[in-house]
């Protein structure tokens, strides 16, 4: 028995009426884990992320972090316990600069975001930390630009930078490369490789190139149910997986 899981999911269920979108899903993420969640469209991948992060409430099942059950907590309370996510579609603050987008998250993490008095020093510190985070993601040069005019690939990197600035224990990446043109995909890939080792990461991605290079373990979801799981080599060889999913896109 080594360390405890960073997050532990047991028997997670969710239905919308007769439509079952999550069916008894179990998942453990150890600190430093790199797990990919794949499955055909409509398999319930994003639903699963929304269940984990609290944007949806599960009908049944538990989610545990640091020995605490979090499945009934609001999204913002889960974030404060170290669970961060990126969004499939950018949800950046378009009117703010790139740096402000990160600084606002840092302020929130540090509990400065209630401050309306004597905040100058703290806010400066938030901006400085934001700048460092951006440089780590190789978009430091764009710090002063409004997000609205930023190239799409860099917006995706900013999504990740914001999530990282929350110093999460568990990071959920919902299609980090979605919509990024092929010639820019390597930038996302390199950024993923540089993510801190200590964070447990669950990635949802359609780009099998990224999935097989990044993940140590792959979980295959079909119709809200875990079809199978295993190391990448085993998954790509699994005839069942090839039938429902991989066969259509890879090799």
């Amino acid at each position: 028995m080594t360390a405890a899981p960073a997050i532990s999911v047991r028997g997670l269920c969710k239905s919308f009426g007769a439509l079952v979108v999550a069916q008894a899903i179990d998942l453990d993420l150890m600190p430093g884990a790199r797990v990919a969640l794949i499955g055909p469209n409509g398999a319930g991948k994003t639903t699963f992320v929304n269940l984990l992060t609290g944007f949806l409430r599960p009908d049944l099942g538990t989610i545990e972090m640091q020995g605490e059950n979090i499945e009934r907590l609001a999204p913002e309370d889960r974030v404060r316990r170290g669970l961060a996510r990126t969004h499939q579609i950018n949800t950046l603050l378009l009117e703010n600069t790139v740096r402000e987008n990160v600084a606002i998250a840092v302020a929130e993490r540090e509990g400065f975001a209630w401050r309306a008095l004597r905040f100058a020093r703290q806010w400066r510190a938030c901006l400085d930390e934001a700048q460092a985070q951006l440089e780590q993601m190789d978009i430091g040069a764009a710090a002063e630009r409004p997000v609205a005019g930023l190239p799409y690939g860099q917006q995706r990197l900013l999504e990740i930078a914001i999530a990282l600035s929350l110093k999460p224990r568990v990071l959920l990446l919902d299609e980090p490369a979605a919509g990024v043109p092929a010639h820019e995909a390597h930038v996302i890939h390199e950024a993923l490789n540089r993510l801190p080792d200590s964070i447990a990461i669950l990635i949802i991605e359609h780009d099998m190139d990224i999935v097989f290079r990044f993940a140590q373990e792959i979980v295959v979801l079909v119709q809200g149910r875990v079809l199978t799981r295993g190391v990448p080599a085993a998954i790509s060889a699994d005839p069942q997986v090839r039938a429902v999913y991989l066969g259509k896109t890879v090799v």
Binding site: A84, A103, A107, A113
Partner: protein, 327 residues
């Protein structure tokens, strides 16, 4: 280059300008002084709406509720409790804030048209109550017999309105400093984030509902303060302080002056009243035609309201300089 070197003095002059006008007006207005007091009260009311509607994106047309409750609270306090205007003012602020807190807690989990309807419903309910509660509010006749003691026992509210003017200016200045501080703080920035994308803010750990409730309460306190000033300045509170339309007028002022500019409320309320004063002399119908035209022109050509004129001018100068450099 010279453009940059004069930027800072220019900005300082810009900040000083509204207050120089406030001071200058005091010495030159004569019988028109109460007109200036009224404008400042509306500036404060529009500024309170800007915090909630402009900065935090809380879709409300019910701010008249807080203005009205503040006005009635100040008037009733003077009649029944104490004639001290400062105590009455604090009571009005507290009551408006409490109302903001209570109604905000009930409605701020909703958004969009639902929220808009709820804010309208709240102001309608309160307005009807004030209309029915004859014994308390005087109903249709309004609240009469407000007699205020001199401020600090020295400055009496007189017929010419000097005390009311200075008092209103000082209160406006204090609220202006508070609003300025709020919108530039991390708290204010998080509100801007909530307005743009509440989901994003929840994903970074923002307690969205609490933060909206906080600014709604502050904004209500500010609107209540404006209401109290109006009660003090006129020694009268009528049902019109709870008029549904006044929230709309404040919104029109913000759009004219510029939403999310702080000074937008100053420019918008002033233009509104000055133009009204001039055109209403010609014809009351003409006035509505003019304000409608101004509103359309602003929305079509100046996205950021009249406060945007500066930016438009700067861009024009830069374009002209850029053109000169190319040549």
């Amino acid at each position: 280059m010279p453009l940059k070197s004069i930027a800072r003095p220019l900005a300082l002059a810009g900040h000083a300008l509204p207050w120089l006008i406030v001071i200058g007006y005091f010495f030159t207005a004569d019988y028109y002084l109460s007109f200036g007091t009224e404008i400042m009260i509306w500036i404060l009311f529009a500024m309170s709406l800007d915090l909630a509607l402009g900065y935090a994106g809380i879709l409300t047309l019910g701010h008249a509720a807080f203005f009205g409750v503040g006005a009635y609270a100040a008037g009733l306090f003077a009649i029944h409790v104490s004639p001290d205007p400062l105590l009455g003012h604090l009571a009005a602020i507290a009551l408006a804030a409490l109302l903001g807190l209570m109604t905000g807690a009930m409605i701020l989990h909703t958004t969009g048209v639902t929220l808009l309807m709820l804010t309208l419903a709240i102001v309608s309910v309160i307005s009807q109550y004030a209309n029915q509660a004859n014994d308390l509010t005087g109903g249709d006749n309004g609240l009469q017999g407000i007699k205020l003691a001199p401020i600090f026992g020295r400055f009496e509210f007189n017929l010419f309105g000097q005390t009311a003017y200075v008092y209103t200016a000082i209160v406006l200045f204090i609220w202006f400093l508070i609003a300025w501080r709020i919108v530039h703080s991390p708290f204010g920035r998080s509100l801007g984030g909530i307005r743009q994308n509440p989901r994003r803010m929840r994903a970074i750990g923002t307690p969205v509902w609490w933060r909206l409730l906080a600014i709604y309460t502050i904004s209500a306190a500010m609107a209540g303060s404006a209401g109290a000033l109006s009660a003090d300045a006129t020694s009268f509170v009528g049902l019109s302080v709870l008029d549904l339309l006044s929230s709309g007028i404040a919104a029109v002022m913000l759009i004219l002056g510029g939403v999310r500019r702080i000074y937008g409320a100053f420019v918008g309320a002033t233009i509104y009243f000055v133009v009204q004063d001039y055109t209403a002399k010609i014809s009351p119908f003409f006035w509505e035609f003019v304000v409608g035209g101004m509103l359309m022109a602003t929305v079509l050509f100046l996205e950021g309201g009249l406060m945007d004129l500066g930016n438009v001018a700067r861009r024009a100068v830069e374009r002209w300089r850029g053109g000169a450099d190319d040549a």
